[in-house]
Amino acid sequence: MSDVILEAVNISKRYQQRRRPPIWAVRSVDLALNSGQTIAVVGESGSGKSTLGRIIAGVLPFDEGTLAISGHRLSQVDAKLSRGLRRSVQLIHQDPFAALNPAHTVGNILRFPLNAMGIKSADRVRERVQDLLSSVGLTPPNRYVNQYPYQLSGGQRQRVVLARALAVNPKVLVADEAVSMIDVSMRQNILGIMKQLQVDYGLGIVFITHDLALARNFAQRGQTIVMYAGSIIECGSTEQVIQEPLHPYTAMLRDAVPDPDPTKAMGTLVPISSETPDLTWTREGCRFAPRCPFAVTLCVSSTPSLTSYTGEHSVACHRASLGVSWAMESEKKVT
């Protein structure tokens, strides 16, 4: 059993609004990541997956809960407390153009974190920059050192972002839709580099995506967490969650993913309404109930909690924990 390098317990994040109830971006989320492990976090926009990612990457303060990085517990993100700790979790942004300061060359972008790490001698820095660029497949490195971000393609920029993250010897990468803005033909190359880095450095990876097929592809042997309206509604090993979803929402997400094979018809499960969830909701009841075709009275009156179903596979759904499988009902409906 490998050691836990990142642990989030009961994390919540609220945004106060003037004269309106606060928006709960993340509600009581638990997450534990081992070194070398991959956890995929999936959900729609507004599900809180990106907010969670920025919290565990240490760049967004949270309101409740604790975050522990390599065993150091932080009750809130504080610049002094987390000196050096924040570096061990690196965020990979969705838009590689926005993630690089247009005023600096690739060489400088990599030099800054190396300097901050205490590597000052020009020779050492040059050497490290070359290593970093080669390890993300930007070869020959000298071709890229003096280039500005706008001179690179999206895929190349994302490689620079990865190299920059690598410069501070992180233990965890939080990849927030890291390939959704990259051309399809190069996505697998970027993902391949991430996987290689994971093997080489034992990195834990939190892979945030809205695309279930991509989550399955990347976190195949890892865990998958499904978020809805700021809470985890299902989690377990990736294959279990995607092949045998326990929550109707997970099943809908899966059914909505289009398949490259033209003979495969899309799944049948569609939500009854396209309304996005109300994030200010604090009353009792399942927050997915308004969109759920299988909601019963209980779903409206009480909030389901995340409970273990089989082994590591947990779900927050009354129908699942009551043992009355909605999946069977859906079979009936379809046939």
Binding site: S153, G154, S185, L214, R216, N217, P258, P260, V270
Partner: protein, 329 residues
């Protein structure tokens, strides 16, 4: 045999970038038939959207249609039409759905007043038009009253996209161009929009061109798919054929780079290298620097368009010999 509604022939579009001229669309031919949905797949810079804008005669200032023909069965070649003439056919003969519909509506007018403008522009009785719009909105599972009284920003992305489709369809055009209509949407909203397009397709004789960077989005929706690379159409075939038996290496690699939710897990591979810059194209076949099957001639000459059958063609020297191999990538 169904009738051809739109014929694009040898279309060339150039853009002025600094002092250079680059060919964003290079010698593309395509025909659309009644009741058919054709997918057009390509990555950024492949020229797929430019092709659609050129077909609408909506190219930005720096763009110019250099040569070629865009023939609508009903009105003839529109490629050289003036703006006033074009405004008579846009919307009611050929219409377009955009990627970010929220920015294609006038932000300070209600949708009802925008519908009214559309009907007036085409000399259609406003009341009759609105009745039709309401009916279509209902079909998209939207509350017509609420939609019509709303301003664009008051609707969610998925709702706006559906309204955009209603806008493009309400005058019953012959051709509907859908430019990445689901790219800005969440999975569930995308699903709803795809279902809507499928539903409407079966109800209309219009030909649809569905442009996307994501092969899986159109694979289940289209009769035929065209693949573009660096301004060129590299392959065109019936969807299932294209997926099962790709003739162009790029098609094969691209369709295999997309993960599937249903299939047994396979290690996916990306395509090495970068798509070329249009201002710095390699000689010969544009895919040759990235192609695992490249030969000397590919780097020297541009492969011609080989017509395999009435609705299938490919631009690769080696298509006949590689067929077997590509099917098993």
């Amino acid at each position: 045999m169904t009738t051809t509604i739109l014929q694009v022939e040898n279309l060339v579009v150039e853009f002025k970038v600094n002092q250079d001229r680059v060919r964003a669309v290079d010698d593309v031919s395509l025909e659309l038939r009644a009741g058919e949905l054709v997918g057009l797949v390509g990555e950024s810079g492949s020229g797929k959207s430019t092709l659609a804008y050129a077909m609408m005669n909506l190219l930005p200032r720096q763009g110019r249609l250099v040569s070629g023909k865009i023939a609508l069965a009903t009105v003839g070649d529109i490629s050289r039409w003036s703006e006033p003439d074009m405004s008579r056919v846009r919307g009611n003969r050929i219409s377009m759905v955009f990627q970010a519909t929220q920015s294609t509506f006038n932000p300070i007018r209600t949708l009802e007043s925008q519908f009214k403008l559309l009907f007036r522009a085409h000399g259609i009785n406003v009341q009759e038009g609105l009745i039709k719009a309401r009916r279509l909105l209902q079909r998209t599972q939207l509350d017509p009253q609420r939609i019509l009284t709303s301003y664009p920003h008051q609707l969610s992305g998925g709702m706006r996209q559906r309204v955009g489709i209603v806008f493009a369809m309400v005058l019953e055009p012959d051709v509907i161009l859908l430019d990445e209509p689901t790219t800005a949407l969440d999975v569930l909203s995308q699903r709803v929009v795809l279902d809507l397009i499928r539903d409407l397709r079966s109800q209309t004789d219009a030909a649809m061109l569905f442009i996307t960077h994501d092969f899986s989005v159109v694979s289940n929706l289209s009769q035929r798919i065209g693949v573009m690379y660096a301004g060129k159409l590299v392959e065109l075939a019936p969807t299932e054929r294209l997926y099962r038996f790709p003739q162009h290496p790029y098609t094969a690699l691209l369709t295999r780079a997309v993960p599937s939710i249903s299939q047994k897990h396979t290690e996916l591979v990306g395509i090495p290298g970068q798509p070329p810059h249009l201002s710095d194209l390699p000689p010969g076949c544009r895919f040759s620097p990235r192609c695992p099957y490249v030969q000397e001639r590919c780097r020297e000459r541009t492969p011609p368009w080989s017509k395999i059958s009435a609705d299938q063609g490919v631009a690769c020297f080696r298509w006949s010999e590689l067929g077997e191999e590509l099917a098993n990538v």
